[in-house]
């Protein structure tokens, strides 16, 4: 089991692994995205109250779910880089932050577009929206910190510490925002509970969530491979690998 951890630390091994994984993931993710989008946007029945406007859920919810999970993946990579000093975990963290920030941004924008027809406002200070906005700030902080250091190893360690501090804080932030929301305004707006969703809408949604997880993994691997190409562009193994 430990051999895989040692292998993960080796850039040449990881480069070959990333090449194989991308070759496998790319068609699967594209297929799942196309099937899920057609199923969700065209085949699934319209909502009896929201009509067709609810269909943005098939983009909004997967983006939000994966954005949240992405922070924990980033913190785990940070822990690996701090404890075991695995080189590729550093690269993974740098690759993860912008992808996670982009997904959070997609979730915020689609939520805002969805909010206009259903709530009548582009932005409502709802507990979940506010938590997502703070998650977006946390991602931006990690990105800004990794940009600020000249020394790449120090940047990775600093980001690892920051993302771990953020991980400890995320549950507290969520709970406090929840209380803040119930303190400020009674629940005037309620989502339809996720358990109340009909299977004809649930299955395409689950497919889209899986597709977004795949898309997340794919973008991270692509970014990591690009960074490897950039970092090791003068080393012999990479030139042998490419040519």
């Amino acid at each position: 089991m430990w051999s895989i951890v040692h292998k993960m630390g080796s850039p040449p091994w990881f480069y070959r692994f990333a090449n194989r994984a991308i070759a496998w993931l790319l068609p699967i993710v594209l297929l799942a995205l196309v099937v899920g989008s057609i199923w969700g946007l065209l085949i699934a029945p319209p909502d009896y109250r929201q009509g067709n406007s609810y269909r943005i859920i098939f983009i909004h919810v997967p983006a939000a779910v994966v954005a949240l999970a992405g922070y924990y993946v980033m913190a785990t990579a940070g822990l690996m880089s701090l404890v075991w000093k695995i080189k590729m975990a550093d690269t993974a963290m740098r690759a993860l932050a912008p992808v996670g920030a982009a997904l959070t941004f997609i979730a915020l924008v689609t939520g805002s577009i969805w909010g206009k027809p259903t709530w009548g406002a582009w932005w409502v200070w709802d507990a979940r929206i506010t938590s997502m906005l703070i998650l977006f700030f946390l991602y931006l902080g990690v990105m800004a910190l990794s940009e600020a250091f000249d020394n790449k190893a120090a940047a990775a360690k600093a980001c690892a510490v920051l993302s771990l501090v953020g991980t400890v804080n995320i549950p507290i932030i969520y709970k406090s925002v929840d209380w803040w929301y119930s303190l400020h305004q009674p629940a005037s707006i309620k989502f339809t509970g996720e358990s109340a969703i009909d299977t004809s809408m649930l299955y395409p949604l689950l497919l889209m969530i899986l597709a977004f997880y795949g898309l997340f993994a794919l973008s991270v691997l692509l970014r990591m491979r690009t960074e490897l190409l950039l970092t090791y562009r003068q080393s012999a193994w990479l030139n042998a690998e490419v040519s």
Partner: protein, 227 residues
């Protein structure tokens, strides 16, 4: 000959407090900043006493948060520049504890002084008198949390030339719970309700922060020393 841990920490505390007290401008400056920003709100919102009283818990807490961020940029700065931090990191006594001594002295002079004078600013904004003790205690507990968060961010940015904006960027998302609990306590007290539960939550945050933050601060300082 290295002194015992207790003596060592007392020396550290003495050094920080003496250095700070010799430059009283650094203690008074943030308070003047606080006063000036509070002055901007009636100018921006209009002088209606009822409006100001209703908004005063939020205004005072947000301004306290900002001025705490402004001063936490100075944490570890002079020790980093003159090499003291390197000596502290090399010493056999834990860096986490000597860093905590600095954070604690910093909070005593910035956060506590702000909490002590806050009733004056609350009076300027027409806050009900019964809320003022709660404002003071919530600020005292809350600024300790803010100093700890600021210290984590400062430990990561102390080696960077343009750390100032970055420090705020890193701290602000983490300060959200402190702001929520602090304003809630003051607002409840202003309305005549019991604010104990909110103050207890702030106390829990401060206690938890005192336990966990030192490790993050020490790790951050070691990274900054290597960078």
């Amino acid at each position: 000959m290295l002194p015992e841990l207790g003596t060592f920490l007392r020396f550290q505390a003495q050094r920080h407090l003496q250095a700070a007290l010799r430059r009283p401008g650094d203690i008074v400056g943030p308070l003047i900043f606080f006063l000036m920003v509070v002055t901007l709100f009636p100018l921006g919102l209009g002088p209606d006493p009822a409006v100001l009283a209703a908004l005063s818990p939020g205004i005072l807490w947000v301004v306290a948060l900002l001025s705490s961020l402004v001063v936490s940029g100075r944490l570890f700065q002079s020790d980093y520049e003159d090499g003291t931090l390197e000596q502290l990191a090399l010493s056999p006594h834990p860096l986490a504890l000597s860093a905590m001594v600095e954070v604690f002295c910093h909070w005593l002079l910035s956060g506590m002084s702000l909490a002590l004078v806050s009733p004056v600013f609350a009076g300027l904004l027409n806050m009900p008198t019964q809320a003022m003790p709660v404002l003071m205690s919530s600020l005292a507990l809350g600024t300790l949390c803010l100093s700890l968060i600021g210290a984590v961010a400062a430990s990561l940015t102390v080696a960077l030339r343009r750390g100032g904006v970055l420090l705020s960027l890193l701290s602000i998302p983490l300060t959200v719970p402190v702001l929520i609990f602090g304003t809630a306590a003051v607002r409840e007290a202003a309305l005549g309700y019991d604010p104990t539960s909110w103050l207890a939550l702030l106390g829990a945050l401060a206690a938890g922060g005192c336990v966990l933050a030192p490790f993050a601060i020490a790790a951050g300082l070691r990274i900054s020393l290597e960078a």
